[in-house]
Assembly symmetry: C3
Homo-oligomer: 387 residues x 3
């Protein structure tokens, strides 16, 4: 599926130069649902504009095109009538597809000698169950090894454990990713989030210096300079003197001293935050013991599934119990809802059209250019050369 | 109205060769509502994409274009202010139309000497009340005689009585009709319907032999061969051994022995089931004493009204009381809801696009070709020649 | 923004000759909300298809484009963080705009020395607070003086006081205005409104004689002749003999004798009712002490805000208390809801397309022609010459 490029779509204006497709990059692994959501019934999902049915049979996970090629009915309404065979049967006439290959192995209503069986195939998608999530590869290229192609925090599971949730945004995925490359919205939007409101104002007016990660997997954006307050002619001071900001910086609010932090010196983490293709961000802590991955998964051009994947370093069962309890009782609500929803309201309110970018958008521009240039895609699918 | 043919409409792909119009064939009688639904107030209906107002006055039934030609307001909001005159008055300025001709006979607000009166006419549609249904002829040709143009079971009323209900499907009418030409869905979809679940598996993998009915009114599809179970390589047996199927075949489940049945020998019924233009099916019983007519009425390209018209042979008042009671207490629920809704869920889930038809779709293909070739339409309206 | 002119839009058919734009005339003052609705939070409104944010700061009223030019987020979600400065700050990155000029005076997150500040401007709209309403000028021409450009009843406030409400219609604004130029709908639609049902039938089949007002501000339509009842061949009498019509004509029902009325002789009012550009009607009383202004405000091509502005001559505080009480207890319900909603149901039911206009539509045609010819607009924006 070539990326749509509607000349009249005002949502394309900011991205037209960069070859960043409206429905997302296809040749990547994407988390699509949490494993607990796939129960005994087949489940329909949508990813990069494709409708896909997921099911499990005898421990094997299967992903096929949702539409039966026979008469167009949705396979997700069907059943896995032959447990152990790894097949699903269309609810309409019993066309039965092999999950691993997508091949029609029986058209039940035509009898076992049906000539159509084994001559028809539907599309099968690479699919994995990993880190509490179900992962799909919607593209046409050979899939990569999942654990090697995603951040270490959600890769090999010996060192980390994860808890994930997601929220669907009514917006294009690129608007959500634009929210992440150090665009200075956090310092303003989240200054009154419960997580940050008692801490000092985060420094802003930073100088941003985007650098590609090893192997062009993404970008890290070094920050320097900046201020935590100033007088503005004709307005007054920003931020105002706010007596309740008595806490010391902690957690996400602790943004200085990374070079000498435990994360850097003990765990060898290279950047406090990173932005990865196809559209995710890793936000670490100075302790190096926790990170949040946010992943913009393009359902289609108008809907984006925002995953919040919380990751903790395994440090013994007592600590793990504490981390999990802290998440369920506090962080799941205070960050994954209250903090993230501050973004959601604004991003969903975006009116597509011309932009007037500026110094704080250096990371946004760098990201768009980087993504359009370096994203993995089938040979010949690049449409534009980017200056 | 020529049939729409949108090059970009994936719903047209399966029908493009056959000249079967998206909004239905116009020059036929269609049931549109049950007579009990038309009370003292005018009622708006929609048929083949046309908006029509129905009303009764002094025993006469009237159908006019819903839109007042004066300023475009809906006549269904108006009143029959002059009982006995067979007229309806537009609610906006009192333009008053004669029901039988559609002619404007007074523009009330212009006084009785208005020059516009009798110079303007709106479209009047042929309309009948028959067998508990209101019937409309939305086309431009001279209407046929209703009772001669529909199956005998709902034609002359001396021999049969009828009870009807309908459900609106969010799908094109052709998807619903495709459900009927012995496409083998019944053997699979309805095998667990309450009506059939205790009876043996219906035979499938039949050889289908479609034949036109006399006068090309439709098709009958002779069935032969088939099986009631088989082993499928790599899967197992279909159907599985189901201990609860202990009943003998009865009712719709009794599909063999038609040639020697009472229906054939006593009542002279030629086919156990038939498919009629413009899009209905008659499904009989071996007894010849009951039939179900299902009729796909195109409201517009996206909505279809599926009528279930139940028909019983008149066999004395005791039997009639029994048949009616049986319908209201049992069959109305078990068939017209539970059985029919099994189809509705699947048909409405259809994703338009390419199909991969096969041996069990012989009837579907025959129907599409037959309908496109033989449907009644105004001279010159055939667009395609069908090979 | 040139007025849209979609060749395929059936709603344009009646207006195509007249150059009356679908989204309304832009270079006029329009009431948009009641002043009580604009509280401490910025408020989003829509007018002639434009999205605008309103806010008040330190007694000054501001109207700016709703969309922040930076990244497209809605300013109405922002705050007036610096009271007294007349500014609003975008909720996303703190871009702060001056209300009176629209200029960006600080991009908070870039610090006070940001180069982008004062180089960017968003659109600022002329806005006023007057007669209990907030008024916007959405056009590009120099705004007129509000009180000189609207009817005297809502102009200078020494002589009159006003109470307003509005209802949003799901229809194009032109359909609503067409309801006003003496099109004879009142005599039919409202004959059973509580306000008129006990009074005699209003005369109809009038001869209409439209005349421009001084300065081509609008039209007055003189009425003469007419009847209050007649026999219609084939139908009967209209109106029927209705025993409950025992009241003498009063209020709006009193439509004769204007030339010798107090309104004419004492107050010098020239016309009992007038139709003004850009799309409002003034309906007076013989007493000259009350008028109703109805104003069709185009939200966009599909939605119209119908203001009912009730106006009373100031005649001492005792009378004012009575007038207000009478409005809140009686007229607000009986007229502004019950009477006006009779129109709303019909107008919203309009199906766009061809019309068949007639003698009673003389005022409608005159209005369309007058509006297309005489409406104020920027030089060169007339598209058509009107015969």
């Amino acid at each position: 599926m070539p990326p749509p490029d509607d000349e009249d779509d005002p949502g394309e204006i900011p991205y037209r130069r960069y070859d960043v497709p409206k429905q997302g990059f296809e040749d990547y692994w994407y988390p699509i649902i949490c494993t607990a959501e796939l129960k005994r019934k087949p489940k329909a999902v949508r990813l990069v504009g494709r409708d896909i049915v997921l099911f499990r049979d005898a421990g094997t996970l299967v992903a096929l095109d949702e539409r039966c090629p026979h008469r167009g009915v949705k396979l997700s309404l069907g059943q896995c009538s032959y447990p152990g065979s790894g097949t699903i049967s269309c609810p309409y006439h019993g066309w039965t597809f092999d999950g691993s290959t997508g091949r029609l192995i029986a058209a039940l209503m035509e009898g076992p000698d049906s000539p159509v069986a084994r001559k028809v195939a539907t599309r099968s998608y690479p699919v994995r169950e990993h880190a509490g999530l179900i992962w799909l590869w919607p593209g046409s290229m050979q899939p990569s090894t999942l654990v090697d192609d995603i951040p270490e925090w959600i890769g090999r599971q010996e060192t980390f454990f994860n808890i994930s949730m997601y929220t669907d945004y009514k917006c294009n995925w690129r608007w959500l990713v634009d929210n992440w490359p150090q665009d200075h919205h956090a310092q303003y939007v989240h200054r009154n989030a419960p997580e940050l409101m008692f801490q000092p104002q985060l420094p802003y007016a930073l100088t941003l210096d985007p650098k590609p990660l090893d192997g062009n997997k993404g970008l890290a954006i070094k920050r320097s300079g900046g201020m935590t307050g100033a007088d503005y002619p004709g307005l007054g001071r920003f931020p105002k003197n706010e007596w309740w900001r008595f806490m010391k910086p902690t957690g996400r609010g602790n943004v200085t001293g990374f070079e000498t932090s435990k994360a850097r010196t003990v765990y060898g983490i290279k950047n406090q935050s990173e932005l990865w293709l196809p559209g995710l961000t890793v936000v670490g802590r100075l302790s190096g013991e926790y990170s949040l991955i946010q992943w913009a998964v393009p359902i289609d051009g108008e809907t984006t599934r925002c995953f919040n994947i919380n990751n903790w370093r395994r440090m013994g069962w007592r600590r793990e119990i504490y981390d999990r309890a802290h998440y369920y009782l506090f962080r799941s609500w205070v960050h994954d809802r209250m903090f993230s929803d501050q973004d959601k309201v604004l991003i969903e309110s975006t009116v597509p059209g011309l932009e007037r970018l500026s110094k704080t958008d250096v990371g946004v521009i760098a990201w768009r250019k980087f993504a359009g240039t370096h994203a993995r895609r089938p040979p010949g699918e690049h449409k534009l050369s980017v200056a």
